[in-house]
Amino acid sequence: MKVVGARIPRYDGVAHVTGRTTYVDDVRVPGTLWAKALRSPHHHAGIVRLDTRPAEEMKGVHAVITHKDVPLNVYGHLEALGIPADEPLLAEDDVRYKGQPIALVAAEDEELAAEAVERIEIEFEERPALLDVRKAFDPDAPRIHQWGNWYPHFEGGMDRRQIRKGDIDWAFAHADVIVQGVYRPAAVEHCPLETQVCQVVPEPNGRLTIYSCTQALYFSMGVVAAHLQVPLNRLKFVGGTTGGGFGGKVDTATETMTALLALKSGRPVKWRWTREEEFLCSSTRAPWHMEIADAVTKDGWILGRKMLTLHDAGAYARFSPYGVTKHSFHHTGAYTIPNLHFDGYVVFTNRVPTTAMRGYGVTSVSFAVETHMSRVAAVLGIDPFELRLKNANRIGDTSPNGVVYTDPSTVPTIQAIAEAIGHELPAAYRTMTNEPRSGEWLPEHLVAQLGTPEEH
């Protein structure tokens, strides 16, 4: 314990306050070209015609790329985990979100690159767009994705992340009250001060040096190598300095396309998104639609929970199946509910693909669970602190996915909150600990779910 409680200056503090930290945008490579993207102006459309020749013929334009230039255009972020691919690097026949990249240009400077993008000729055939996750889940909603409107590739070919625990029918048969709620947190843009940016330098030995603002350097390396169909030793990634990410720089946004431009032009290429692109085209935290029904007793025990979660993946799956899996493990929050029936779907819409953001999949469910706990307390007329403490995770309780808690912090945390705001708790709740349940805190319905921490 040399660090806890000690004062340790940030290793990058001096560089940050003297302007000497080198972010990707600060890398200077002579002869660098600027990249710009032709992006879809529509939420959902077919591409009827695409002619890049007017851009290619411009003086000062050194490379134009479309899907035809990508060795492996369709690649999935989670393919290594056996999850199939659905997203093209550059759109082919159709576009499924506003801002989706279709073609890129590398030119002598930023203005010229933008002008060249304007010259590209393209015609679309607009299609109906689905922008709400709940509407996209309707059986009669127009089909917008080749897999249908929700992801069908969970383990065993299931179309949802499912959790079944205990006896949900018993819980609802024995409830005094059923409390329902619907929770819909909206999309959130990460909005890092540093927009998406990378600089790619083709080296004389055939390798590419890639200066990246990624939060997941080796991950991005794998994605670029897969699209380019080159071994990892052709790529030298330089990263580690990120001007804010918050999860939004986990997806590989710029590196692959910029690398293709560098290979085609033989020149160093830089792509820095504008603030407008960052807001319109970058991934966001997902919108979610969550429906909860709790079977509760008059004295505040939660016997069972039924929950339906619709996660808005946006136009493509990316990491969403992973996010929903995490979400499902946390759908009882910091509380123990022995009988569960959870279905979580990864639903496609015509929004920008969504991704990680500060507690991927968990912040949404925490919002829903905590709001719902307060709703249950209000319906029952019970103090919301007492309701939470009564159902709090204790040592030996089991999570929705069967993990035995060995050191849950719910009880001391809620007690500390009560104390901080001067909320008086009855003695039984003030002296409660997170030790294994016994006596009045171990009613019959919580016995079967208990596990043995030592065995884990």
Binding site: K2, A6, R7, P9, G13, V17, G19, G243, G245, R275
Partner: protein
Amino acid sequence: MNLTVNGVAREVESPPLTPLLHVLREELGITGPKAGCLQGGCGACTVLVDGEPRRACLLPLAYAEGAEITTVEGLGTPERLAPIQQAFIHHYAAQCGFCTSGMLLAAQAYLARGGSDDPEEIQEALAGHVCRCTGYAKIIDAVAAAARGDSFDLTTTAVGKYTTVTTGGRA
């Protein structure tokens, strides 16, 4: 056109309507000021023009002709840090660091005009500077400490020796 940047006279060739930020970063290679939004909205490009904080992304070069420009590189060096730079390190007021140079220069201008350690006045002085890592409380603490003339210990201390400096600053 002629400018004085961090005490050094510079002759620049960019056209007169080029944003000052572009001149500094692309022509002079001074990369402390950052391109955060290029719309005057985030404050990451802020530099001092004759002592006043200005958004370099919106300021045409012609308006800065003959002026004294100070960027973060001109505040102090790693060997000789300005008090406001020391305060930012001491109070952990820089996280990703991308907003830091703009924050520092706005804070420096505030201190130069005799600003106090009042958190509300500091907030006023830093209005329009966005920190997305949400370190505002620490930034305000740092500016308040510099305004009071606190001394800063930038070395590592042993376990238990660190005492929090409370400024009464608020989030």
